[in-house]
Amino acid sequence: MIIMRQKFKKTSSTNKRDITNISSEYEVNLSNELESNKKEIYRLLGNSSDLVTREFQLGKIRPINARILFLDGLIDKEFIQNYLLNPLINDLRESKSDEKVLDVQELYQFIKDFTITTAELAEIKNFKGLLEHLLAGDTILLIDGIAKGFAVGARGAKERGVEEPTTQKVVRGPKDSFTETISVNIALIRKRIKDPNLWLESFAYGRKTKTKVTIAYIHGIVNPRIVDEVKARLAKIDIDGILESGYIEELIEDETYTPFPTMFNTERPDAVSAALLEGKVAILVDGTPFVLLVPALFVDFFQASEDYYQRSDISSLIRLLRYIAFFLALLTPSVYIALTTFHQEMIPTTLLVSLAAQREGIPFPAFVEALLMEITFELLREAGIRLPTPIGSAISIVGALVLGQAAVDAGIVSATMVIVVSLTAISSFIFPSYSLAISVRMLRFPFMVMAATFGLFGIFIGLIILTLHLTSLRSFGIPYLSPFAPFIAEDQRDAVFRAPRWAQKKRPRLINQRNTRRENAGQPQPDRKG
């Protein structure tokens, strides 16, 4: 581990040197001459074919050359035509002020003050700024004879609209989800929390991608130490590119060598808002609809946002079901192996006789049989996810019906095994969070090995090691297994069970230490007088 870290440091420092060389090249100021500026831009972008430029003249009497540059596809062309080119070419030409001959400086000021009517406008002085704006999708306006330029914000890249979430569906609850555009995502949160204390801080990470990363939190609720910790960890990021929030997650999580996710990801704005209200920090990354939430505890992965929209008794039972499913998904195959190969005395006689009858003629030991079926199932699942939807469902039919039935008929696996594997599969689909489902899928196999070696004893040893590992984990300083270990009685109201809204008077204790009160009204009482 230490050696690896050192290696990592070394490579990163060499890259840093590269980048300083290039950026010193960018630091050059714009020149007075339009043509040389244009040539320089083309040179810097390697004559990329999506760089579009249009030259035109400003004014009627003594026209001055000007030029706009933009990257094709990133801008709203209609907008540029109506609100930039039209005023610049037509209005300036007809404008009365033109009667007076302006020098270049005056014209520049005039254009800035009266001609360009867009909301976003920035002045640029050097190539670094120019490139930043150009690559981000702004339109650059350069005027001959002046060593400055404008960056006009008229971004119009094709982007997906707000649609229904695909990974975390609900029956009841909001149906919008985040998109790939960070500004839209922030707006979705702002729409829900109209509080000046919702603070956002943006950074750009990735030497090449310059991805915008924004952290959001509610000042006054959040524990400032967690915000500082998040910022400190983010500041250490030095990577060439960030394409998804998973990059950030791996770079700043507490413990990399764990099957469990220590950061929560969601594409639901309501889930993010709820987390912010609990005092968590959201990390939004441009280019992905998945927003990270920290600190994330083990219990968070068993909670769907719908739990809070349904009645508390229903959601409590459903949560209980999820915890049961967790153990089923984790342990069913290993318990089956342990019982049938080690502890036959635990199975009722009639059941054991029928199990034995099924196993007659099966060529594999129970462990191999289970492994075979589990791997087959994992194959099917992976195939189902990657394939286009119509084929995907066909695969599952083939897998579930044909393969299972045929395997049993052929005497390769026993019918009970098929039931066991199906039960495991169904249970692992119950989790609201895909990232926990994956860890359970993974952990199932070591448990099967332990069961095949030591029976139930092996399983219990596995459970102890698993719990030791879970209790040693922390997510941004918060014990991962809280509120179970350390046990916090107050927080049990939103752990395995969900107490009614009015009973959840406080925010989670460990996450939030300052402003803990969240609900004051108490249980609703109908007006009995009337």
Binding site: M1, Y257, T340, T341, F342, Q344, E345, T349, T350, L352, V353, S354, L355, A356, A357, Q358, R359, E360, G361, I362, P365, A366, V449, M450, A452, T453, F454, G455
Partner: protein
């Protein structure tokens, strides 16, 4: 941490590769459901086990092969004999699903004490099997009989002992702990339920026995066998066995009938609850036992004319049943006295209620027991009369008379 993890993972891998010491695949074991213990002519243990053939019991295609098989082996000790069976049986015998343990009558008369150590010491057994005696035949013959209805004969025997104890009450389900307790502790002697075969046991071994509706050899339950120490002395009859269960508070439900009026017509009562309290004491050097029975009954079958709404007539029925129960108890006690075997635990009762006196008498309890004075005080209470109150017999009688 990393090093530990690596060490541990490699350890686990090493162990799992070389491991599975105690793993037994289902296809490698065979389930024993009955264990029979006899002595052979060389005075060695002869152990017979009945094993299940799973695919005949629960498989998809059921052939005409027998659903159970028996293997027997002899040995100087129990353990040796059991181990020798593995030589004959194609698979390792798994004893944890044993339903019933049967001693041959001859064997039981010589004493069962030596077998108990193995049964409790060996971890292969669970201690939840029923123990019984094969009356009048060897245990081996008994467990070899096939039964028509149940595919696993041992299961049939175990369940019929249980249901007979619960519904008819002449037998008792004795588990290992109880047997050990009564064989080894003071002031109580052991009993075991007897099982016999009606018909020719040899015919019972063939598949014919399960193919015909009226099987040539049937397994039947008998009453209770009385032990002194670890030796079988003799048998109680059915009524005495019932009396035994009344005394030992082991009745959950049974049936009793009494004569109705003066004639030989009967009224049958279903005992739904029976509570017995034993109080023991020593008076003038003689043990005295007071039994207090509270019996609740339902009217089950009236075959005479009686007005059950009439309190007096009801009381009379109750009185008759009380007397009958006292007779049962006395019959049972005198049978036990004959065998000089304190199967009811009267000694233990005295020990409980008068521990100081017990110290004096416990050494010659065996001789003192037959002199025990048993006083039974029975109270019967009729609680419900079934689905009808007035007997249908009255109407039938009337109609028959009118017809005449």
């Amino acid at each position: 941490m990393k090093i530990i993890l690596r060490l541990f993972i490699s350890l686990i891998i090493c162990l799992s590769l070389s491991g599975c010491w105690s793993a037994k695949e289902l296809t490698d074991i065979t389930l024993a459901t009955a264990l029979a213990i006899d002595k052979d002519e060389n005075n060695e243990y002869k152990v017979t086990i009945q094993v299940v053939n799973p695919s005949e019991v629960a498989g998809d295609q059921i052939s005409s092969r027998s659903s159970v098989a028996t293997y027997s082996a002899t040995g100087r000790t129990m353990f040796e004999a059991v181990r020798k069976i593995t030589k004959i049986s194609p698979r390792k015998v798994h004893l944890s699903h044993l339903q019933i343990l049967v001693y041959g009558e001859e064997f039981a008369r010589e004493g069962i004490g030596e077998t108990l150590d193995f049964l409790i010491r060996d971890h292969g057994f669970r201690t939840d099997f029923t123990i019984a005696i094969a009356k009048g035949l060897t245990a081996e013959d008994l467990v070899s009989v096939l039964t028509p209805l149940e595919k696993i004969p041992a299961q049939k025997i175990a369940s019929s002992i249980e249901s007979s104890q619960d519904n008819w009450a002449p037998s008792k389900e004795v588990l290992l702990n109880e047997l050990i307790e009564s064989v080894s502790s003071e002031g109580k002697d052991a009993i075991l339920t007897g099982i016999y075969v009606q018909g020719d046991p040899d015919e019972g071994k063939s598949m014919q026995n399960v193919e015909s509706a009226d099987a040539p050899a049937k397994v039947r339950l008998d009453a209770i066998g009385v032990f002194s120490g670890d030796k079988l002395l003799g048998w109680l009859n059915e009524d005495q066995s019932k009396g035994f269960n009344y005394i030992t508070n082991n009745i959950s439900s049974t049936v009793g009938w009494v004569n109705c009026g003066d004639g030989d017509r009967t009224i049958t009562l279903e005992v739904i609850n029976s509570e017995t309290k034993i109080k023991g004491s020593i008076k003038n050097g003689k043990p005295e036992i007071n039994l207090d029975l509270n019996i609740a009954v339902n009217v089950a079958d009236v075959e005479c004319s009686i007005d059950l709404t009439n309190t007096e007539e009801r009381n009379e029925v109750e009185k008759k049943l009380e007397q009958k129960t006292v007779d049962l108890i006395n019959d049972s006690v005198s049978a036990a006295k004959e065998y000089e075997s304190d199967i009811f635990g009267f000694g233990a009762a005295i020990r409980r209620s008068d521990p100081q006196e017990w110290k004096n008498v416990k050494d010659n309890w065996a001789t003192l027991f037959p002199e025990t004075d048993v006083k039974a005080n029975v109270t019967v209470q009729i609680e419900q009369s079934g689905m009808i109150t007035t007997p249908i017999y009255n109407d039938i009688k009337k109609k028959t008379k009118e017809g005449n």
